[in-house]
Structure formats: structure tokens, C-alpha cells
Symmetry: C2
Subunit: 393 residues, 2 copies
């Protein structure tokens, strides 16, 4: 069963079946501009390939009942989301419903080989659980810019050792199926578009706040990757020329204010200055502080930690305000590893954006948290590869 669809009509039908679930032939006919005869031929061909199967009778619409068709339930997509400090792996069926999901902490800096080993072990675990005996396609996200056509990371600042590593090629070899590679932020955007808050929006931004800060850009329903694949790299936009130095060589970048490392740095400073008992005790206990410590302290109500989050939200809001003025999106989605304090962050971002951008752009601009949380990336990954497979050859 080769998953690549042959022509534009079949691709269209496959995507409809993916997104709408099992449908009667007539319901499909209502959605595509094809004659009944042509539709019947194309569906027959899809049935022949095995990508689509008959699925009983549809509910009656008052007369003779129609036969349902659906994406073959044996179809399996793999989604991999490599973050800076964690890996998510999920298996979905052809309708991109998650059948199994594993998450593990893992520092991407251990390099591609070690990461791959780990990812493959997780995949094996999902396989052993009986969720898949094969994969029809896989999508993988990495936390840095990617030369999309080749599926190769380029000059990734937080991924030493990954530059030029043939991620697509390597994974495709291992899994024996087609693979696409993209920036993790783009996949998050795709995920929210597929199954989250952005389902009906054609132009939106998806801000991911974690170790790095990035932005997925969707224009007319399509991800915009830029000419070198670095679009959305907003972590190194300067918010304050007098700000702290950044790993990129400049000063006052957004990430230098509010990236994971910056947050940890500020927290340590505040703990050592005796400003926060909560942070100080955590520092005492662990010997170091991470962004998660700040997050936990803030969730526990520590005012100093909360203030760090608010300040960061405000800085981020400042940048988003600029982007909103520039891009005039219909929605801004905030996501990333913000367990628990999403709403605190959201509030300060909103305040800043609504204050700074012009009313015409913010008039009815929703700024919301992502719906999918940790699975946005993996869902986006399967969406990416399924879009690729369900497209004209």
C-alpha cells in the first residue's frame, strides 16, 4: 500500500476523509466539484489502492442509505517533536487521532545520534504496545531552522552537532517510510490548525515559548518558512539595546530576556540576592535553578517568580505587538512548555499587545493559549507528512 495519491482529486478526497472522518460518497460529492460519475471512479481507485475502505452504511437522509467510506484504519503516521529539553513521540491513525503518545526529557545538545537512538527506542515501545506494525509516513520537528526541501537543520543555535545532519534521510532509512522535517514551531502551528484553536483561521501566528522563543507563521492557510527556512525566528529580535548579552552575539534579544536560560539566570540572581525565599530554597536544594523552578515557584504563588513571568510576558508582548502591526493576523496562539502559568503569561502579553498595537489590527484579534498543549507538535508533524502524502504526485 503506497500512500502517495495519484491525482489532485484523490488528494482532495483523502484530506477530506482525514479531516472529516468517515463520510458517505454523497457527502463527499457535496464538498468537491466533481460529477457523480467522476467521483465514483476516483473513490473506486482509492478503494483499489487500499488507502480507503468501505465502512458500512451511512445514516439515512430520508431515502436509500449511502455506503460510507473512510481512510484505511490500518494507516499509521508517526509524529516526533524534538524540543530543546524533551522529546515527544506519538502514533496516529489516518485521521490523525493520537493512538499513543510518549514524552521524555532529553537534552537536544547530546547530539543527533544519541537523540535518534532514544527516539527509535520510544518508537519501538509504541510498536510493542501494538499501536503500529508499520508507518506510512513520519513527521519530525527540531528546535531550529530547517532547510525544508532537504529536511536538514541549518545553523541551529541551540543544537550543536545538528548542523547539516541528514535528519530526513536518516529517519526515513530507519523507519522505511517517507519523512518530512520541519521547525518545531511550524509543526505546533500546523497542529493547532489541524486540531486546535486555529482550525478555521487562515492567517495566524503561533508563538512558542520555551527554552527558545519562536513563531510559526501561517499565511493563507500555508506555513510560511521564509527563503532560508528561518522565518519565525523571533527569539533574537532586539527588545532593549541595553539589555543582557545573548548567546547569538547581540545584546537585548528577546531570548536574552525571557528564554529558558535567561529565566534561570535571573532566578539565580534573585535567589542569591535574598529576594525570594522560595527560589532560594530551591537553589539550595538542587544546586541550580531552571525555568521549571521559576514556573513552579510562580505557580506556588511566589511573587518574585510571578514578577519574572510577568516581565517576560511583557517583553514578549512587546515583540508580538510589533508582529501584529506588521502581519495583521486573525489570531495569535501562545504555546510551549508553560505548564500552569499560561494564563499569567497570557494576561501580561495581552496587556502589552492591546496597549501597543493599533486598534485596527487588534480590534477583534484573539490572543489565546494553544488547545493541544504538549501534543501540538506531534499532531502537526503527522499533519505535515499526511499533507505531503495526500497530495498530487
Amino acid at each position: 500500500m503506497t500512500a502517495r495519491s495519484a491525482n489532485v482529486h484523490q488528494a482532495r478526497l483523502l484530506r477530506l476523509l482525514r479531516d472529516l472522518g468517515p463520510q458517505s460518497r454523497v457527502a463527499l460529492g457535496d464538498r468537491v466539484e466533481l460529477s457523480r460519475s467522476k467521483l465514483a471512479v476516483e473513490i473506486d481507485r482509492l478503494l483499489e489502492t487500499g488507502l480507503v475502505v468501505q465502512d458500512g452504511l451511512a445514516a439515512s437522509r430520508g431515502g436509500r442509505r449511502s455506503h460510507n467510506v473512510r481512510i484505511a484504519p490500518s494507516l499509521r503516521f508517526l509524529g516526533v517533536d524534538i524540543g530543546a529539553t524533551s522529546v515527544d513521540v506519538a502514533v496516529t491513525n489516518g485521521e490523525l487521532e493520537i493512538l499513543g503518545h510518549l514524552a521524555e526529557p532529553l537534552d537536544v545538545r547530546v547530539g543527533p545520534v544519541a537523540v535518534f537512538e532514544r527516539v527509535l527506542a520510544m518508537v519501538a515501545k509504541l510498536r510493542d504496545a501494538g499501536l503500529a506494525d508499520h508507518f506510512d509516513g513520519a513527521g519530525i520537528g527540531v528546535p531550529g531552522p530547517v532547510r525544508f526541501p532537504e529536511g536538514v537543520p541549518v545553523a541551529p543555535p541551540i543544537m550543536p552537532g545538528w548542523d547539516g545532519f541528514p535528519v530526513r534521510e536518516a529517519l526515513s532509512q530507519e523507519l522505511g517510510c517517507p519523512v518530512l522535517v520541519d521547525n518545531d514551531v511550524n509543526l505546533m502551528a500546523l497542529g493547532e490548525q489541524q486540531a486546535g484553536v486555529a482550525r478555521s483561521v487562515r492567517d495566524f501566528l503561533c508563538i512558542k515559548i520555551g527554552t527558545g522563543i519562536g513563531c510559526g507563521i501561517v499565511v493563507s492557510g500555508e506555513v510560511h518558512r521564509g527563503v532560508t527556512g528561518s522565518a519565525g525566528d523571533i527569539g533574537h529580535i532586539q527588545v532593549d539595546p541595553a539589555g543582557p548579552p545573548c548567546a547569538c552575539g547581540n545584546t537585548g534579544c528577546l531570548e536574552a530576556h525571557f528564554g529558558g536560560n535567561a529565566l534561570a539566570r535571573d532566578a539565580v540572581a534573585l535567589a542569591e540576592a535574598g529576594r525570594s525565599v522560595e527560589l532560594a530554597s530551591r537553589l539550595e536544594a538542587a544546586g541550580r535553578l531552571t525555568a521549571e523552578d521559576v514556573s513552579a515557584a510562580a505557580s506556588a504563588g511566589d511573587p518574585v517568580a510571578l514578577d519574572l513571568i510577568r516581565q517576560g510576558g511583557s517583553r514578549t508582548g512587546q515583540v508580538i505587538a510589533s508582529l501584529v502591526s506588521f502581519f495583521n493576523p486573525g489570531l495569535v496562539v501562545i504555546g510551549g512548555g508553560l505548564t500552569g502559568l499560561g494564563h499569567t503569561l497570557l494576561a501580561s502579553i495581552r496587556t502589552q499587545v492591546y496597549r501597543q498595537s493599533l486598534p485596527l489590527a487588534t480590534g477583534n484579534l484573539p490572543i489565546v493559549l494553544g488547545e493541544l498543549g504538549p501534543v501540538a507538535g506531534v499532531v502537526g508533524a503527522t499533519r505535515l507528512i499526511s499533507d505531503h502524502l495526500f497530495s498530487p504526485a
Copy 2:
């Protein structure tokens, strides 16, 4: 002769003939994926409508000579570019070559009725010069956000009295032809894409620096207008929270630093402070200073005026650097009413962008001046309407 083409093939052919000039039928066949018979039929239909005419024999390619076809030479498009302080009007043929061009200073704040009167007088002048006895379509640009589908300015900050004025409807009535209205910056981008530096680039930004500062955004060859038509409104991006107050109510907007009014304000302050003899004498002579005075003084070598320009360029570069990080374009075009000092400005913008953006985004990112200068807007206007007319009905 109705200009609206009937089907997708005819639209395609018309655009090819517009952009490539007279072509043999065979050369057209090489560019479209149509059978010879179908191509012949479609061209015959176009000939019937009168939109396309026979144009002698093509040069021999070694055998029987082919008959050329071309867009009807009687086709006339009108381009109107209303700037904050000037109006440009031009007439083109069907190949968007400028046949006549008039420019006049005019403050847009006199309101739509007065501006229209003036524009129509200019149109009449071009008509009287024998350049056109009719118009097949017109495009018009205004210096503010436009609800594109309706052709109506919305909440334009520097155009009091224009909010909601039915520009499209009114002009269409007067001229008796289809009209499209857009933001002047978008038209500039379209102009540079049609006949300027951006001919072969699919993703680029077009920065217009004048009374206001705006940015045309082209994604995958299409202008991105945003959900409310305010995309590219970068004049009110904050570059310095401690900066001067802006008319929009915020502080430190780019326009508050480097818009036309800001430039005049700073120049007056410097002149009065005795920092520049050149500016002081101009202030003395005219009783006031404008951006043009600064421009002239800078061109004359006045170091204080030059410094103003450099500082402004640096501020602008700061914003462009952010946009480049975000959008990762393949080209940045700088244009607007920068007579003479384009290169000074360009230099300081380049310095700032190359310093601040990441190498991956700036690696081979050309930042160049627009090629078309004052006619970019009007060319873009005719491109806009011709695209509309040369599209499937």
C-alpha cells in the same frame, strides 16, 4: 470591449502577453500547458473579444513564420497614487508601459472630495494630451489601510475625512470602468514586482519611507494584506519606549522618530539650537521646515541633517532587522520620497540590519533601493487592476 477574461486559460494568456509583450502563438504554447488545438481556440476567442490583436509575423525560427499576437494596443489602464503630500497619475497601455505621467503636490488632508477633483483634472489633462479616450480599468492607492474587497479606507490615521469614503465606488462612477483600491505601499510592492527590482522574487518586503512609514509584504508572489487590511503598518512599531510621543497615542513609534513630521520637528529644534547653519537659514527663509528641507540640506552636505537621516535609517534598520528575523524575506526594497539621499539611508539601514539579524536570514539578503522611484505606485496600481481584469470571471 469588456476586459474581463472568461476562463483561466485566457487569463493566463493575457497576463503572459502583458508581461512578455507581443508573442508568437508557438511561444505562448511553450509557456502554457495546453494542446495546440485548445490554444488556437482560446486565442481565437481572445481575438474575437478584441482584447488581443494580430501583430504581424514573428521572426522566423527556420521554417514557416508564426503570426504574432499582442494585447490590444488601444487598451488603457489608469494608475493613481495618492500620497500624504502628493498625487501621481499615470496612463499605461495593456502592457503596463507608462504612456503619460503627472505628479502634483497635494495634501491628502484636504479630504477625499477635493483630492478627487484634482485627480480627475489630472486625468482630464492626460486625456486631452491624446493618451487615452477611455479606460479599461484603474487602480488607486491611498496612504492608509484599506478594506480591500470593498475598496474603502478604514481608520486611516493621516487621512482625516477619508474613513469609510467609498473610493472605489466613486472613482468607478467617474471613470466608467472597474476600479480597485489598495494601500499605497502594497502598490509600490506590486510595482517593483511587475517592473522593478523584485521581478523574480516571490517573498519580499517593500519599505516605503515618506510622511508615514509602511511596508508592503509579498508572500509567494501575492500581496499579504492581513485580516483587516492593516498589514505592513510598521510606522507604529515601538522602537524606544522612552522615545517621543506619537500621534497614535503611544510613545517611541518608528514614525515618531523618523516620519516626515518627526524629521521636521527635529530639524526645527536643531536649527533653533543653532546646531546647523544650513537648516537655520532655511527655517529663516520659509518660516518652517519640512522633511524636504532636511533632505535638501543633507544632499548639500550639511552634517547635522545627514546625521538626522543616518539616525533615522538606523531606527528603521532596527525595525527591518526584526521583520527580517520574523519573515525571512528574499529581498528588501527601500523606496518612497527619498530624493537624492537614498544611498545614505540605505547604508545606515544595511548596517543596522546586517548587525542585528541572524546570519542565516541575512546571508544573501539583498537590501536595495526601488528601481521605479516615483512611478512604482502607479505601475503597481495598473498591475493590480490588470491582474483583476486578466483573471477568471
